[in-house]
């Protein structure tokens, strides 16, 4: 059963069309990356899922049906624009928001203590939110998102303002929650983060989903017929190579249709070349993103 199902949603604000036609679904125990350039319609789609906005048309199913007030307690949301009470001390602020999610104060306090320790915020729990650094506020907001142990977690740009150490902390938490069975919907334009974390992706551009699927499948779909090679000295002459191009200190060999990567490797060994690097050229998510957007624009 899918935790979230979005089918052909559309939303306009006056004459501006924010979402044209977006569809995707996410299952329990899965991280779905919602990718796309700024203004593509990711955040609007999320707000439609959360019933903050109502779609002009299309269908949304959350936790097996339409969104209801009761389901809000099963959803954790980290918005792109962070929004904690700036004038409240950190601990009461997070406890208040947790009780609004239906967590008993005693339980909330116990869980919060654990999370504050985990994210190195325990020493700052009595400080006002506005006195915390941006990174600390970001971690606090992440705690608020998961404190009530939601089944569906929607996180919009979760790594913004985080240094590498804190980024890793948040990544570890996201993976732990995913392994615990939660469905995670992650909106980001940081492709390397999506590449590292997501099981599936949906690419949105100009209000439309232009690409979706499991990350491996998408990669295979966009994989070129090429290999990346680096050898000590000169590259020996190779049959079946259509063209050669330099790429980050290595060579990218585009192969003829009749040739396979194994043929090229055999020839290198036969020539006695000292092979330092040999790998099948797999496109990065950045490259797939750019190609998909271009193709979408062209079509």
């Amino acid at each position: 059963m899918n935790t979230v199902e979005v089918s052909h949603i559309r939303k306009s604000f006056g004459t501006a069309r924010a979402v044209e036609d977006v569809s995707f679904s996410a299952e329990p125990g899965q991280i779905l990356g919602l990718l796309g350039p700024n203004g593509a319609g990711k955040t609007t789609s999320i707000r439609i899922i959360l019933d903050i906005y109502r779609a002009d048309s299309g269908m949304v199913s959350v936790l097996d049906g339409p969104m209801t007030e009761g389901k809000k307690a099963r959803i954790g949301y980290l918005p792109e624009e962070r929004g904690l009470y700036q004038d409240l001390p950190l601990e009461p602020c997070l406890l208040y928001l947790a009780t609004l999610k239906g967590v008993a104060p005693k339980v909330a306090r116990q869980r919060l203590g654990e999370y504050l320790e985990r994210f190195d915020l325990a020493a700052h729990k009595n400080k006002k939110v506005k006195e915390l650094s941006k990174g600390m506020q970001q971690k606090a907001q992440m705690i608020n998102t998961v404190l009530h142990q939601p089944d569906l977690i929607i996180i919009d740009e979760p790594f913004a303002a985080l240094d590498p150490i804190n980024t890793q902390m948040v990544k570890d938490l996201i993976l732990q929650l995913r392994d615990g069975g939660a469905t995670i919907l992650m909106s980001t334009h940081q492709m390397h983060q999506a590449e590292e974390l997501c099981d599936r992706i949906v690419l949105i551009d100009q209000g439309r989903d232009v690409l979706s699927g499991k990350l491996d499948e998408v990669r295979r779909r966009y994989m070129g017929h090429a290999v990346i090679v680096r050898v000590a000295g000169e590259l020996p002459p190779l049959e079946g190579v259509a063209s050669t191009a330099r790429q980050n200190g290595s060579l990218r060999l585009a192969l003829a249709e009749s040739a396979s990567p194994q043929d090229v490797l055999r020839q290198l060994v036969a020539h006695g070349a000292a092979v330092e690097r040999f790998e099948i050229a797999v496109p990065t998510l950045d490259e797939i993103f750019i190609r998909a957007v271009k193709e979408g624009t062209t079509s």
Partner: protein
């Protein structure tokens, strides 16, 4: 606890459980005491209890009675202290006594006083106001020398008007007299309190909403609660805060009235009664008025994205509550005027107008019922409008929401 009540308690506690709030509760009584103290101080500087001389050249006063206590009001406790009136045979004797400092001033009744009533005052430094008032009282009492002393004193005390509406009057039996002065002014006090509630509630509510919108907290909140829970919870919490403040002031006022009436025996504070019927009539209009204002403020707060602008604009909604004071002259002349009756029916002006009319006359029950019904209908409409505006405007930044959009189909 229901989420709406959690929000209400949070909003309430966030504002009330602070030192600043206690200071605010204490601020008004301290201010009033300071003002009264200042008045008393100024009064004391004008007061002079030394003897006052007079020269009765015309022999108009004969064998005068001493002056009676002259009170400017029932709370004029200083009036009991009489200034001795010293008679001098000639102006020279009086002048000598003045120079010696035995008297603070002296009056000379002209030889033709019986015809002209001419009296001259001589002093080195202006005499105390209490002394001059007592001299005029002294003159009056002795002009009425042929009458029974009690009658003479009553005649000098002036008019004592009591207006009574008998049983069966629309709006009920009432009495208006100096004895019930403070009780009669209770509607006015309640109207002022209501205006304070409206100002405080609207400004605090608008600030809470716009700040939450500016900080993007509203987006977090709406993933936990419904818009209705959020708005109603905030309104309850903020109105609760204002009422707590008023209750604090009311408690201190009751204590002050009790101490003033029972300990210091101030006449004005001894007959204070709260008319339950009058309070009920105001309450049935006050509740929908508050709901109406809150809804309008929510609609406004959510359509604007700047706290400063919102604060300035919120005053527009409070203005109609103050507007009935512009009709004060007409209210005193003819409290049943058709214009005033219409304003009693207009939402936002209704409560203050009702209070001002109740202060001076009996307002028919049908007018109170119609006012409450019209205000309640307006409150329902405003709540509907606020709900539509809320959904459209809650995450809109930098662009105002127009009435056309709110009324449009997509809201």
């Amino acid at each position: 606890m229901n989420r709406m009540w959690l929000i209400a308690w949070h909003e309430y506690a966030m504002r009330v459980l602070k030192k600043g709030f206690l200071l605010a509760v204490a601020a008004l009584p301290v201010f009033v005491i300071a003002m009264v103290g200042l008045g008393a101080f100024i009064e004391s500087t004008e007061r002079d209890d030394r003897p006052l001389g007079y020269v009765d050249v015309a022999g108009a006063l004969g064998d005068p009675r001493p002056p009676v206590a002259w009170a400017r009001g029932p709370d004029d406790v200083g009036a009991a202290r009489l200034v001795p009136m010293a008679r001098f045979g000639s102006a020279d004797e009086a002048l000598a006594a003045l120079r010696r400092g035995e008297i603070q001033a002296y009056y000379v009744l002209a030889p033709d006083y019986a015809q002209t009533r001419r009296v001259e005052l001589y002093y080195l430094k202006a005499p105390g106001g209490n002394a001059t008032r007592q001299f005029w009282s002294f003159l009056q009492v002795n002009q009425l020398g042929g009458l029974d002393p009690a009658v003479a004193e009553r005649a000098t005390a002036g008019s004592n008007l009591t207006v009574r509406w008998p049983e069966g009057t629309p709006g009920g039996a009432r009495e208006f007299s100096p004895r019930t002065f403070l009780s009669n002014f209770l509607p006015m006090i309640l109207a002022m309190a209501n205006i304070y509630v409206l100002i405080s509630t609207s400004s605090t509510l608008i600030e809470a909403l716009v700040t939450e919108k500016e900080n993007r907290t509203i987006e977090i909140m709406l993933t936990s609660v419904s818009t209705e829970q959020l708005v109603i919870g905030k309104v309850i919490g903020i109105v609760g805060m204002t009422l707590t403040l008023l209750a604090g002031w009311a408690a201190l006022s009751v204590a002050a009235v009790w101490i003033g009436g029972q300990v210091f025996h101030l006449a004005i504070l001894q007959n204070v009664r709260v008319d339950g019927g009058m309070a009920l009539r105001m309450l049935v209009v006050a509740i929908p008025s508050l709901v109406l204002l809150s809804a309008l403020v929510v609609a406004l707060g959510i359509t604007l994205s700047d706290a400063h602008e919102a604060q300035q604009t919120s005053g527009l909604f409070v203005l109609p509550s103050v507007a009935p004071f512009w009709f004060s002259m007409l209210i005193f002349q003819n409290p049943a005027s058709p214009i005033l009756t219409i304003l009693t029916m207009v939402p936002l002006t209704a409560l203050t107008m009702l209070a001002l009319r109740l202060m001076l006359s009996a307002v028919p029950g049908w007018q109170v019922a119609a006012s409450a019904a019209i205000t309640a209908l307006a409150a329902v409409g405003a709540t509907w409008l606020a709900a539509r505006a809320f959904r459209l405007g809650l995450l809109r930044y930098g662009k105002k929401l127009s009435l056309r959009e709110i009324m449009g189909r997509s809201a």
